[in-house]
Symmetry: C2
Subunit: 383 residues, 2 copies
C-alpha cells in the first residue's frame, strides 16, 4: 500500500526511459489534501545533489503538494545545469498538477556526475501524472529501486488514521542518514512543526542508526507529507510513535537488502555513560571492516570488537568491558570469557552486545557483514 | 641488513614453537652499546595489549638494552595473566643478557584474546640469545611476520652512521599507527630526547598516514634504539631526515603487502586550508569502502571521492572541488571534468589528487583497494 495507504494521496510509478534497461524509473506522489503540511530530513553530506538543494528550499515553505522521484541518475555533482534540470522537473510537475513549483519536492538516485536525460524525464512526469491512482503506491515504490532487490513499503494504521511509506536504498547506507529516498504519508491532521518534530525524532533512532558501509550519500532524503484527510488529530506521542514504527520497519528492510550482505548485525551498546557514547561505540564497531569480515566467516571474533571500542572517546575502562555474541559472553572484564565455541553463528541475524560498564545509556546500530559480493557489486556498478 | 645494519647491534630470529606451523616466531634485538638511548611510539587504541603497556613503562627510563618480539599471539585482552607473561618474558631476557628487566621492551603480534604458550616462549628467549649475531637482522625480520607475504627491512647510510630497521604488518593498518611492529636502530650518537623528536616527526608523516583498512591495532609499536657506536653525532635535521626516510620506505612496504590488495592508492590532498584538513579529507577518501571497491574494478569513480570529501569538516566549497585520477582531472569545479575514459587504471599504483581550493596545505595518505581476497583472508584468519 505504501504511500497511498493514507487517504488523500495518489501515486504512480512508470518507465520513462531514464534507465537504459527499460525498468521503471520515475515515481510521482501527490497530496490531494485538504492539507499539505510537510517535513523533510536530508543528507548531512556537504556535497549535496541538486534535488536535495531544491527540496530543502521547497520544504522551507512548509507545504508540499507532490514529490517527483527518479532512479537512474543522482543528479549530483552536475553543476548549475543539474540544478536547472531539477528546477525544470518541478516546473513540469507544477504545470501538469496545477500547483506552484515551490511546492514540488524532487528526489533522485543513481549515478553521480551524470546529467539526467531531460528529454525523457519531462515527458515521464506527464505520463506519471496521467497514471496517478489511489492504488499507485506499490508501483511508485518499485520505480525508485536502484540496486535494491526488493521494493520496501510499510504501513501503520491507528484509530482512524494511517502512516505509510516507501523506501529505496541498498548501498551507501550511512550515518547522518542511510542511503535512501523515503517518502512517508499520513492522513492525520498534523501541522508542519509537529511533523518536523516527529520525523526528526524518528530518523534519529532509526535511519540514523543504520550503517551498512559507513558511506554517506549525496542524495539522502526523507519526506513526510500530511493530507489531514482522515479528519483525526492524534495525540503527538501516539503520532510520533507511529512515524517511528514505520521508519524502523523501513530501516530494517534496508539492512536486510544491503548490497552483498549475508548477515544482519545488531550492535547493541549498553551501560554507556551517555547516549552519544553508546552511538559512537556502536558506529565504530559497525564500521570495523575486520569484524565485518569475521562475522561473514561466522567467527565470533570479540577481539575485533574490543579493538573497535578502543578507537573511540567514550567513557570506559578496558578491563571492565564485556562482549556477548549471540547471547554468549565471550569477553568478560576485558579478557577471555565464556567458550567461543558455544556461539551459534549459523543464522542471518547476529546480535553483538557491548557492555561499557560506565553508566546506564544504550543505543543500537544495525549493520551488515562485509562480503566478496559487496566488493563485486561495487567494483562493477559505477555509481 | 635490517636492524643489524647499524653498528653495535646483534639480533636473532628463531622458531620457538609459538606458531603451530613451526615457522619462525621469536626475534631478539640487542643493543650492545656503548649507549642505549631509545624512543618509542605506541598505538593510540585505548585497548592496549600487555606488551604495549609494559614497553611504555620501559621507555620511560629512556634506556632500552633489548627488544623481544613474538608473532603467533598478540597477548592482548588477556588480563593480569597476560601482563605477568610479558613481565616474565622481559625478566627472562634480562637474565640471559645480564641486564635489568626494565630495559627490555616486548612486542607481540597475532591472535587477540589468547594467552601465549610461555613454556615455549621462555626457552625460546634463551635460544634466541644463544643465536645472536651481527648478521641476524634478516632472521629477526622474518620471525615477526604474521600474514605478511614478505619480510620488510630498510637501511639508510649517511656519513659514518646508519639508520636501519624492520617492520611487520599487513592487516589492521590504520590511523594513529599502522598495524605493525617496527624496530629501528642507529649507531649515531643521539640522546633520548632527540631520538624521540625525530621518531615522532617521522611517524606522523609516514606510518600515521598509512591507512589500509581503517582498523587500529591494540599492539602497534615503533621503537628506535641508538647505540652510539659510530662515534658520530649527526646534525639533528639530517638525522631526522634519515629516520623519516627509513619509516617512509617501511610504510610503503606495508602498503604493498596489505592483505588481499591489488592496488596501492596514493591519496594526495592539495590546497587545503590547514594540514589537519588535508589529513582529515585524505583519510575520509582512503576509508571509503565504495571508492576502494571502484578502484579495485578499475573504475575512476570520482563521485565517490566527492561524496567522501563531503563527510568531513574541512574548509571547502562543493562547487570549487577538483579531482584528478592518474593525472586526468575528471572532476572540475565540483562537476564533470575531463573524459573519464582517458584514465588509465591498469597499473598497481593509483594516484588520486583532491584539490580543495581552500588554501595551500597538503597531505598524502596511502591506502589499498578493497577486494574479495581481503574479505576471504579476514573471514578465515581468526585474529
Amino acid at each position: 500500500m505504501s504511500v497511498t495507504a493514507a487517504k488523500g494521496f495518489t501515486a504512480a510509478g512508470i518507465a520513462a526511459g531514464i534507465k537504459e534497461n527499460g525498468n521503471p524509473d520515475l515515481a510521482l506522489v501527490v497530496n490531494d489534501g485538504p492539507r499539505r503540511a510537510a517535513a523533510g530530513v536530508f543528507t548531512s553530506n556537504r556535497v549535496k545533489a541538486a534535488p536535495v538543494l531544491w527540496s530543502e528550499q521547497a520544504l522551507k515553505g512548509g507545504q508540499v503538494s507532490a514529490v517527483v522521484l527518479n532512479s537512474g541518475g543522482a543528479n549530483a555533482c552536475t553543476g548549475p545545469k543539474g540544478f536547472q534540470d531539477t528546477h525544470a522537473t518541478a516546473e513540469k510537475a507544477a504545470e501538469v498538477l496545477g500547483r506552484g513549483a515551490i511546492e514540488i519536492a524532487v528526489c533522485s538516485t543513481g549515478l553521480i556526475g551524470v546529467l539526467l536525460p531531460m528529454d525523457r524525464l519531462l515527458p515521464g512526469v506527464e505520463a506519471a501524472a496521467a497514471a496517478l491512482s489511489e492504488h499507485g503506491g506499490e508501483k511508485a515504490a518499485i520505480a525508485i529501486k536502484t540496486t535494491d532487490t526488493v521494493h520496501k513499503t510499510s504501513v501503520v494504521t491507528r484509530d482512524g488514521w494511517t502512516v505509510g511509506g516507501m523506501a529505496k536504498g541498498a548501498g551507501m547506507l550511512a550515518p547522518g542518514l542511510a542511503t535512501m529516498l523515503v517518502v512517508l504519508t499520513t492522513d492525520a491532521v498534523v501541522g508542519g512543526d509537529e511533523l518536523d518534530r516527529a520525523l526528526r525524532a524518528a530518523t534519529k533512532v532509526t535511519f540514523d542508526r543504520v550503517d551498512s558501509d559507513g558511506c554517506m550519500s549525496t542524495n539522502d532524503t526523507v519526506l513526510l507529507l500530511a493530507s489531514g484527510s482522515s479528519g483525526v488529530t492524534p495525540d503527538h506521542a501516539e503520532f510520533a510513535e507511529a512515524v517511528r514504527t514505520v521508519c524502523d520497519d523501513l530501516g530494517q528492510q534496508l539492512i536486510r537488502d544491503a548490497e552483498g550482505a549475508s548477515k544482519d548485525i545488531k550492535v547493541e551498546v549498553i551501560n554507556a555513560a551517555t547516549e552519544d557514547d553508546a552511538v559512537e561505540v556502536g558506529r565504530s564497531i559497525a564500521r570495523n571492516n575486520l569484524l565485518k569480515c569475521a562475522i561473514h566467516g561466522e567467527d565470533p571474533n570479540w577481539g575485533r570488537v574490543l579493538s573497535a571500542i578502543g578507537t573511540t572517546r567514550a567513557a570506559f575502562e578496558p578491563d571492565r568491558l564485556n562482549v556477548a555474541i549471540n547471547g554468549v559472553w565471550v569477553c568478560k572484564d576485558g579478557g577471555v570469557g565464556e567458550d567461543r565455541e558455544k556461539v551459534d553463528m549459523r543464522y542471518r541475524e547476529v546480535h553483538i552486545v557491548a557492555d561499557l560498564a560506565a553508566g546506564s545509556e544504550t543505543a543500537t546500530i544495525w549493520t551488515n557483514d562485509l562480503t566478496a559480493d559487496y566488493v563485486h557489486e561495487n567494483s562493477a556498478y559505477s555509481s
